[in-house]
Symmetry: C2
Subunit: 336 residues, 2 copies
């Protein structure tokens, strides 16, 4: 169970550990061909595995980047992670992952754990736009680079990668209206998520532009997951709210809504059309497929990776805010 160390190798060959260390790293520098050869074969024979912990401690650098997301169960964040990992690995970084489960406290622990293990930078999509504010700031104060993506926070100076939620929501609702829908309800996301507020604003402004009614019961707090969406629509139906379209904060809640509608034998899109922001392959997968504004997740990962690496290289680099173009993909759920 004991791992062999460079000292074991040194003893075995009767040489110093410095030489062993050099042979195992430096490319034929400062060590002769023969001894290097001997060292390598001894390392092989003894099953030597370099202890990265020791290396990190000594070098004072972990080459590790943390990624913190609210959840990993939907493809969006997982796609982001996969792409970011690919890029960062290629650049010689390791990646450690953590999910907050939409819980501020868990997010706090995750961030602290990453600091404990001396990550050199963190990509984060937050689960609350206020609660951990001082923590983000304190990390930045310690010169630990942070890059916010997708769900960002307003009053912190750090690089950010996001889409224009307001505009995209506005366009989506406008599109629903132009397709002939007049009674559009909004499954709103939690008010402590900035994007949710932006999207709600876009929704409201679009209705206003077309002088459509927006009674309070049209905006329901629907949370972020499947069950939340189901419950919200169940509530609407029970209350007798009449509507012919749903605009949802996010994919999952909309999928729950759709499921509920189908259970109640509504026709989609004839009775009720459905559209949402932040769609992934799940929107294609279901039947009818769902019209969605799709975040350019690959590009987000690329930009976020680029930004964090820039910040690690030079902490005083300017804090870019990258706004990416998200595309609306029309599918069966709105095609009349």
């Amino acid at each position: 169970m004991k791992y062999t160390t460079i000292i074991d190798i040194a003893k075995e060959l009767g040489i110093s550990k410095s030489t062993v260390s050099r042979a195992l790293r430096d490319d034929d520098y400062n060590v002769s061909k023969e001894t290097k050869q001997k060292i390598l074969e001894a390392a092989e024979r003894l099953g030597y595995k370099r202890n990265e912990l020791a290396v990190n401690l000594r070098k004072q650098s972990t080459r590790t980047i943390g990624i913190v997301v609210p959840e990993m169960i939907t493809p969006f964040y997982m796609n982001f992670i996969t792409r970011a990992q690919e890029i960062l690995n290629k650049a010689g970084y390791r990646v450690t992952l953590a999910q907050s489960h939409e819980d501020v406290e868990a997010e706090r622990l995750n961030l602290q754990m990453m600091e404990d293990y001396r990550v050199e930078g963190i990509l984060i999509s937050v689960c609350h736009d206020k609660k951990n504010h001082e923590l983000y700031q304190s990390l930045l104060d310690k010169h630990i680079p942070l890059v916010f993506f997708d769900r960002t926070v307003a009053d912190i100076s750090a690089p950010k990668v996001q889409i224009n939620d307001y505009i995209k929501a506005f366009f989506m609702v406008e599109y629903l209206i132009r397709s002939g829908k007049q009674r559009i309800v909004h499954l709103a996301g939690p008010s402590y998520i900035q994007n949710a507020n932006e999207r709600k604003k876009g929704y409201k402004d679009a209705l206003e532009k077309f002088h459509l009614p927006c009674p309070p019961e049209y905006i329901v707090d629907a949370g972020v997951n499947f069950a939340d969406g189901e419950r919200a629509v169940e509530g609407l139906i029970r209350q007798g709210v009449s509507f012919d379209a749903i605009f949802g904060f996010t994919e999952m809640s909309v999928l729950g809504a759709k499921s509920c509608l189908q259970r109640h034998h509504y026709h989609i899109p004839e009775d009720v059309a459905i559209g949402c922001i932040s769609g992934t392959e799940l929107c294609k997968l279901v039947h009818p497929s769902i019209t969605a504004v799709e975040q350019p997740v690959m590009q987000m990962a690329e930009e976020a990776s680029r930004l964090i690496m820039e910040k690690i290289k030079d902490f005083s680099a300017v804090d870019e805010t990258v706004i990416l173009e998200a595309e609306m993909v029309v599918r069966e759920s709105t095609l009349l």
Copy 2:
């Protein structure tokens, strides 16, 4: 950017680092109330963060467990990970994650990386039942505990958690036959995955039991993901193979198949019924929903966590193979 260390605190207070270390760990042992108080407030003031790398190196224990899965994009593995993480965290372990992207070489690198960082145990669902065989064995030879789950390997002695693929496949196909289907095709998984072979065997034996034909074209190599399933069914249709039911190796390929069928205006389940093994919430989410044998993923995570912790505590513990009961959930895709 420099982190403060216990030495900094010691200097600040004019005491020794040993005392600081004790105050920061031991609960009021070997250090007086007052000095402890002073140390804690100094640590707070200087923004001390204990360096876990150094601790791990010194203690020769990382309290970290690795989880390696073929992919994380489908809910199955993610659910497993989430539950396992919950349990292991509660027991004081950290978890580091890696996905192999169904690639043997990537899996190898992941495992080696985990060894480099001295994880104390590894939960793994393999992506090939032969290729990394010696690597698994060599880890075990070094007394690094491994627990195989879901996709296991045959001739390695280590704890395993799985379902009875053969029986479950058999039952599923039997059920399709009893629902009146006679021309059942099988979207088989890759032959280098043991489970795929077991399921294929169950499929064949069920057909045989009922004296149904099983021509070669009924068994198509369909891979593991959405696109694979689409392609496979597209091929069947193009070849003019006539079938009235599909039994799939896994959820994702079956979802692809379903999508393809719907594009070709087949009715599900009237024209073609669909069933698969290893279903998750995705099977509920789609329309029509898919009949599936659902692996008890929570229980799998619990058993796997238990087993790895037992092995860490005592490497010579017996190598249990836990076979869990998987339940078939009948849904719209087979309900005539």
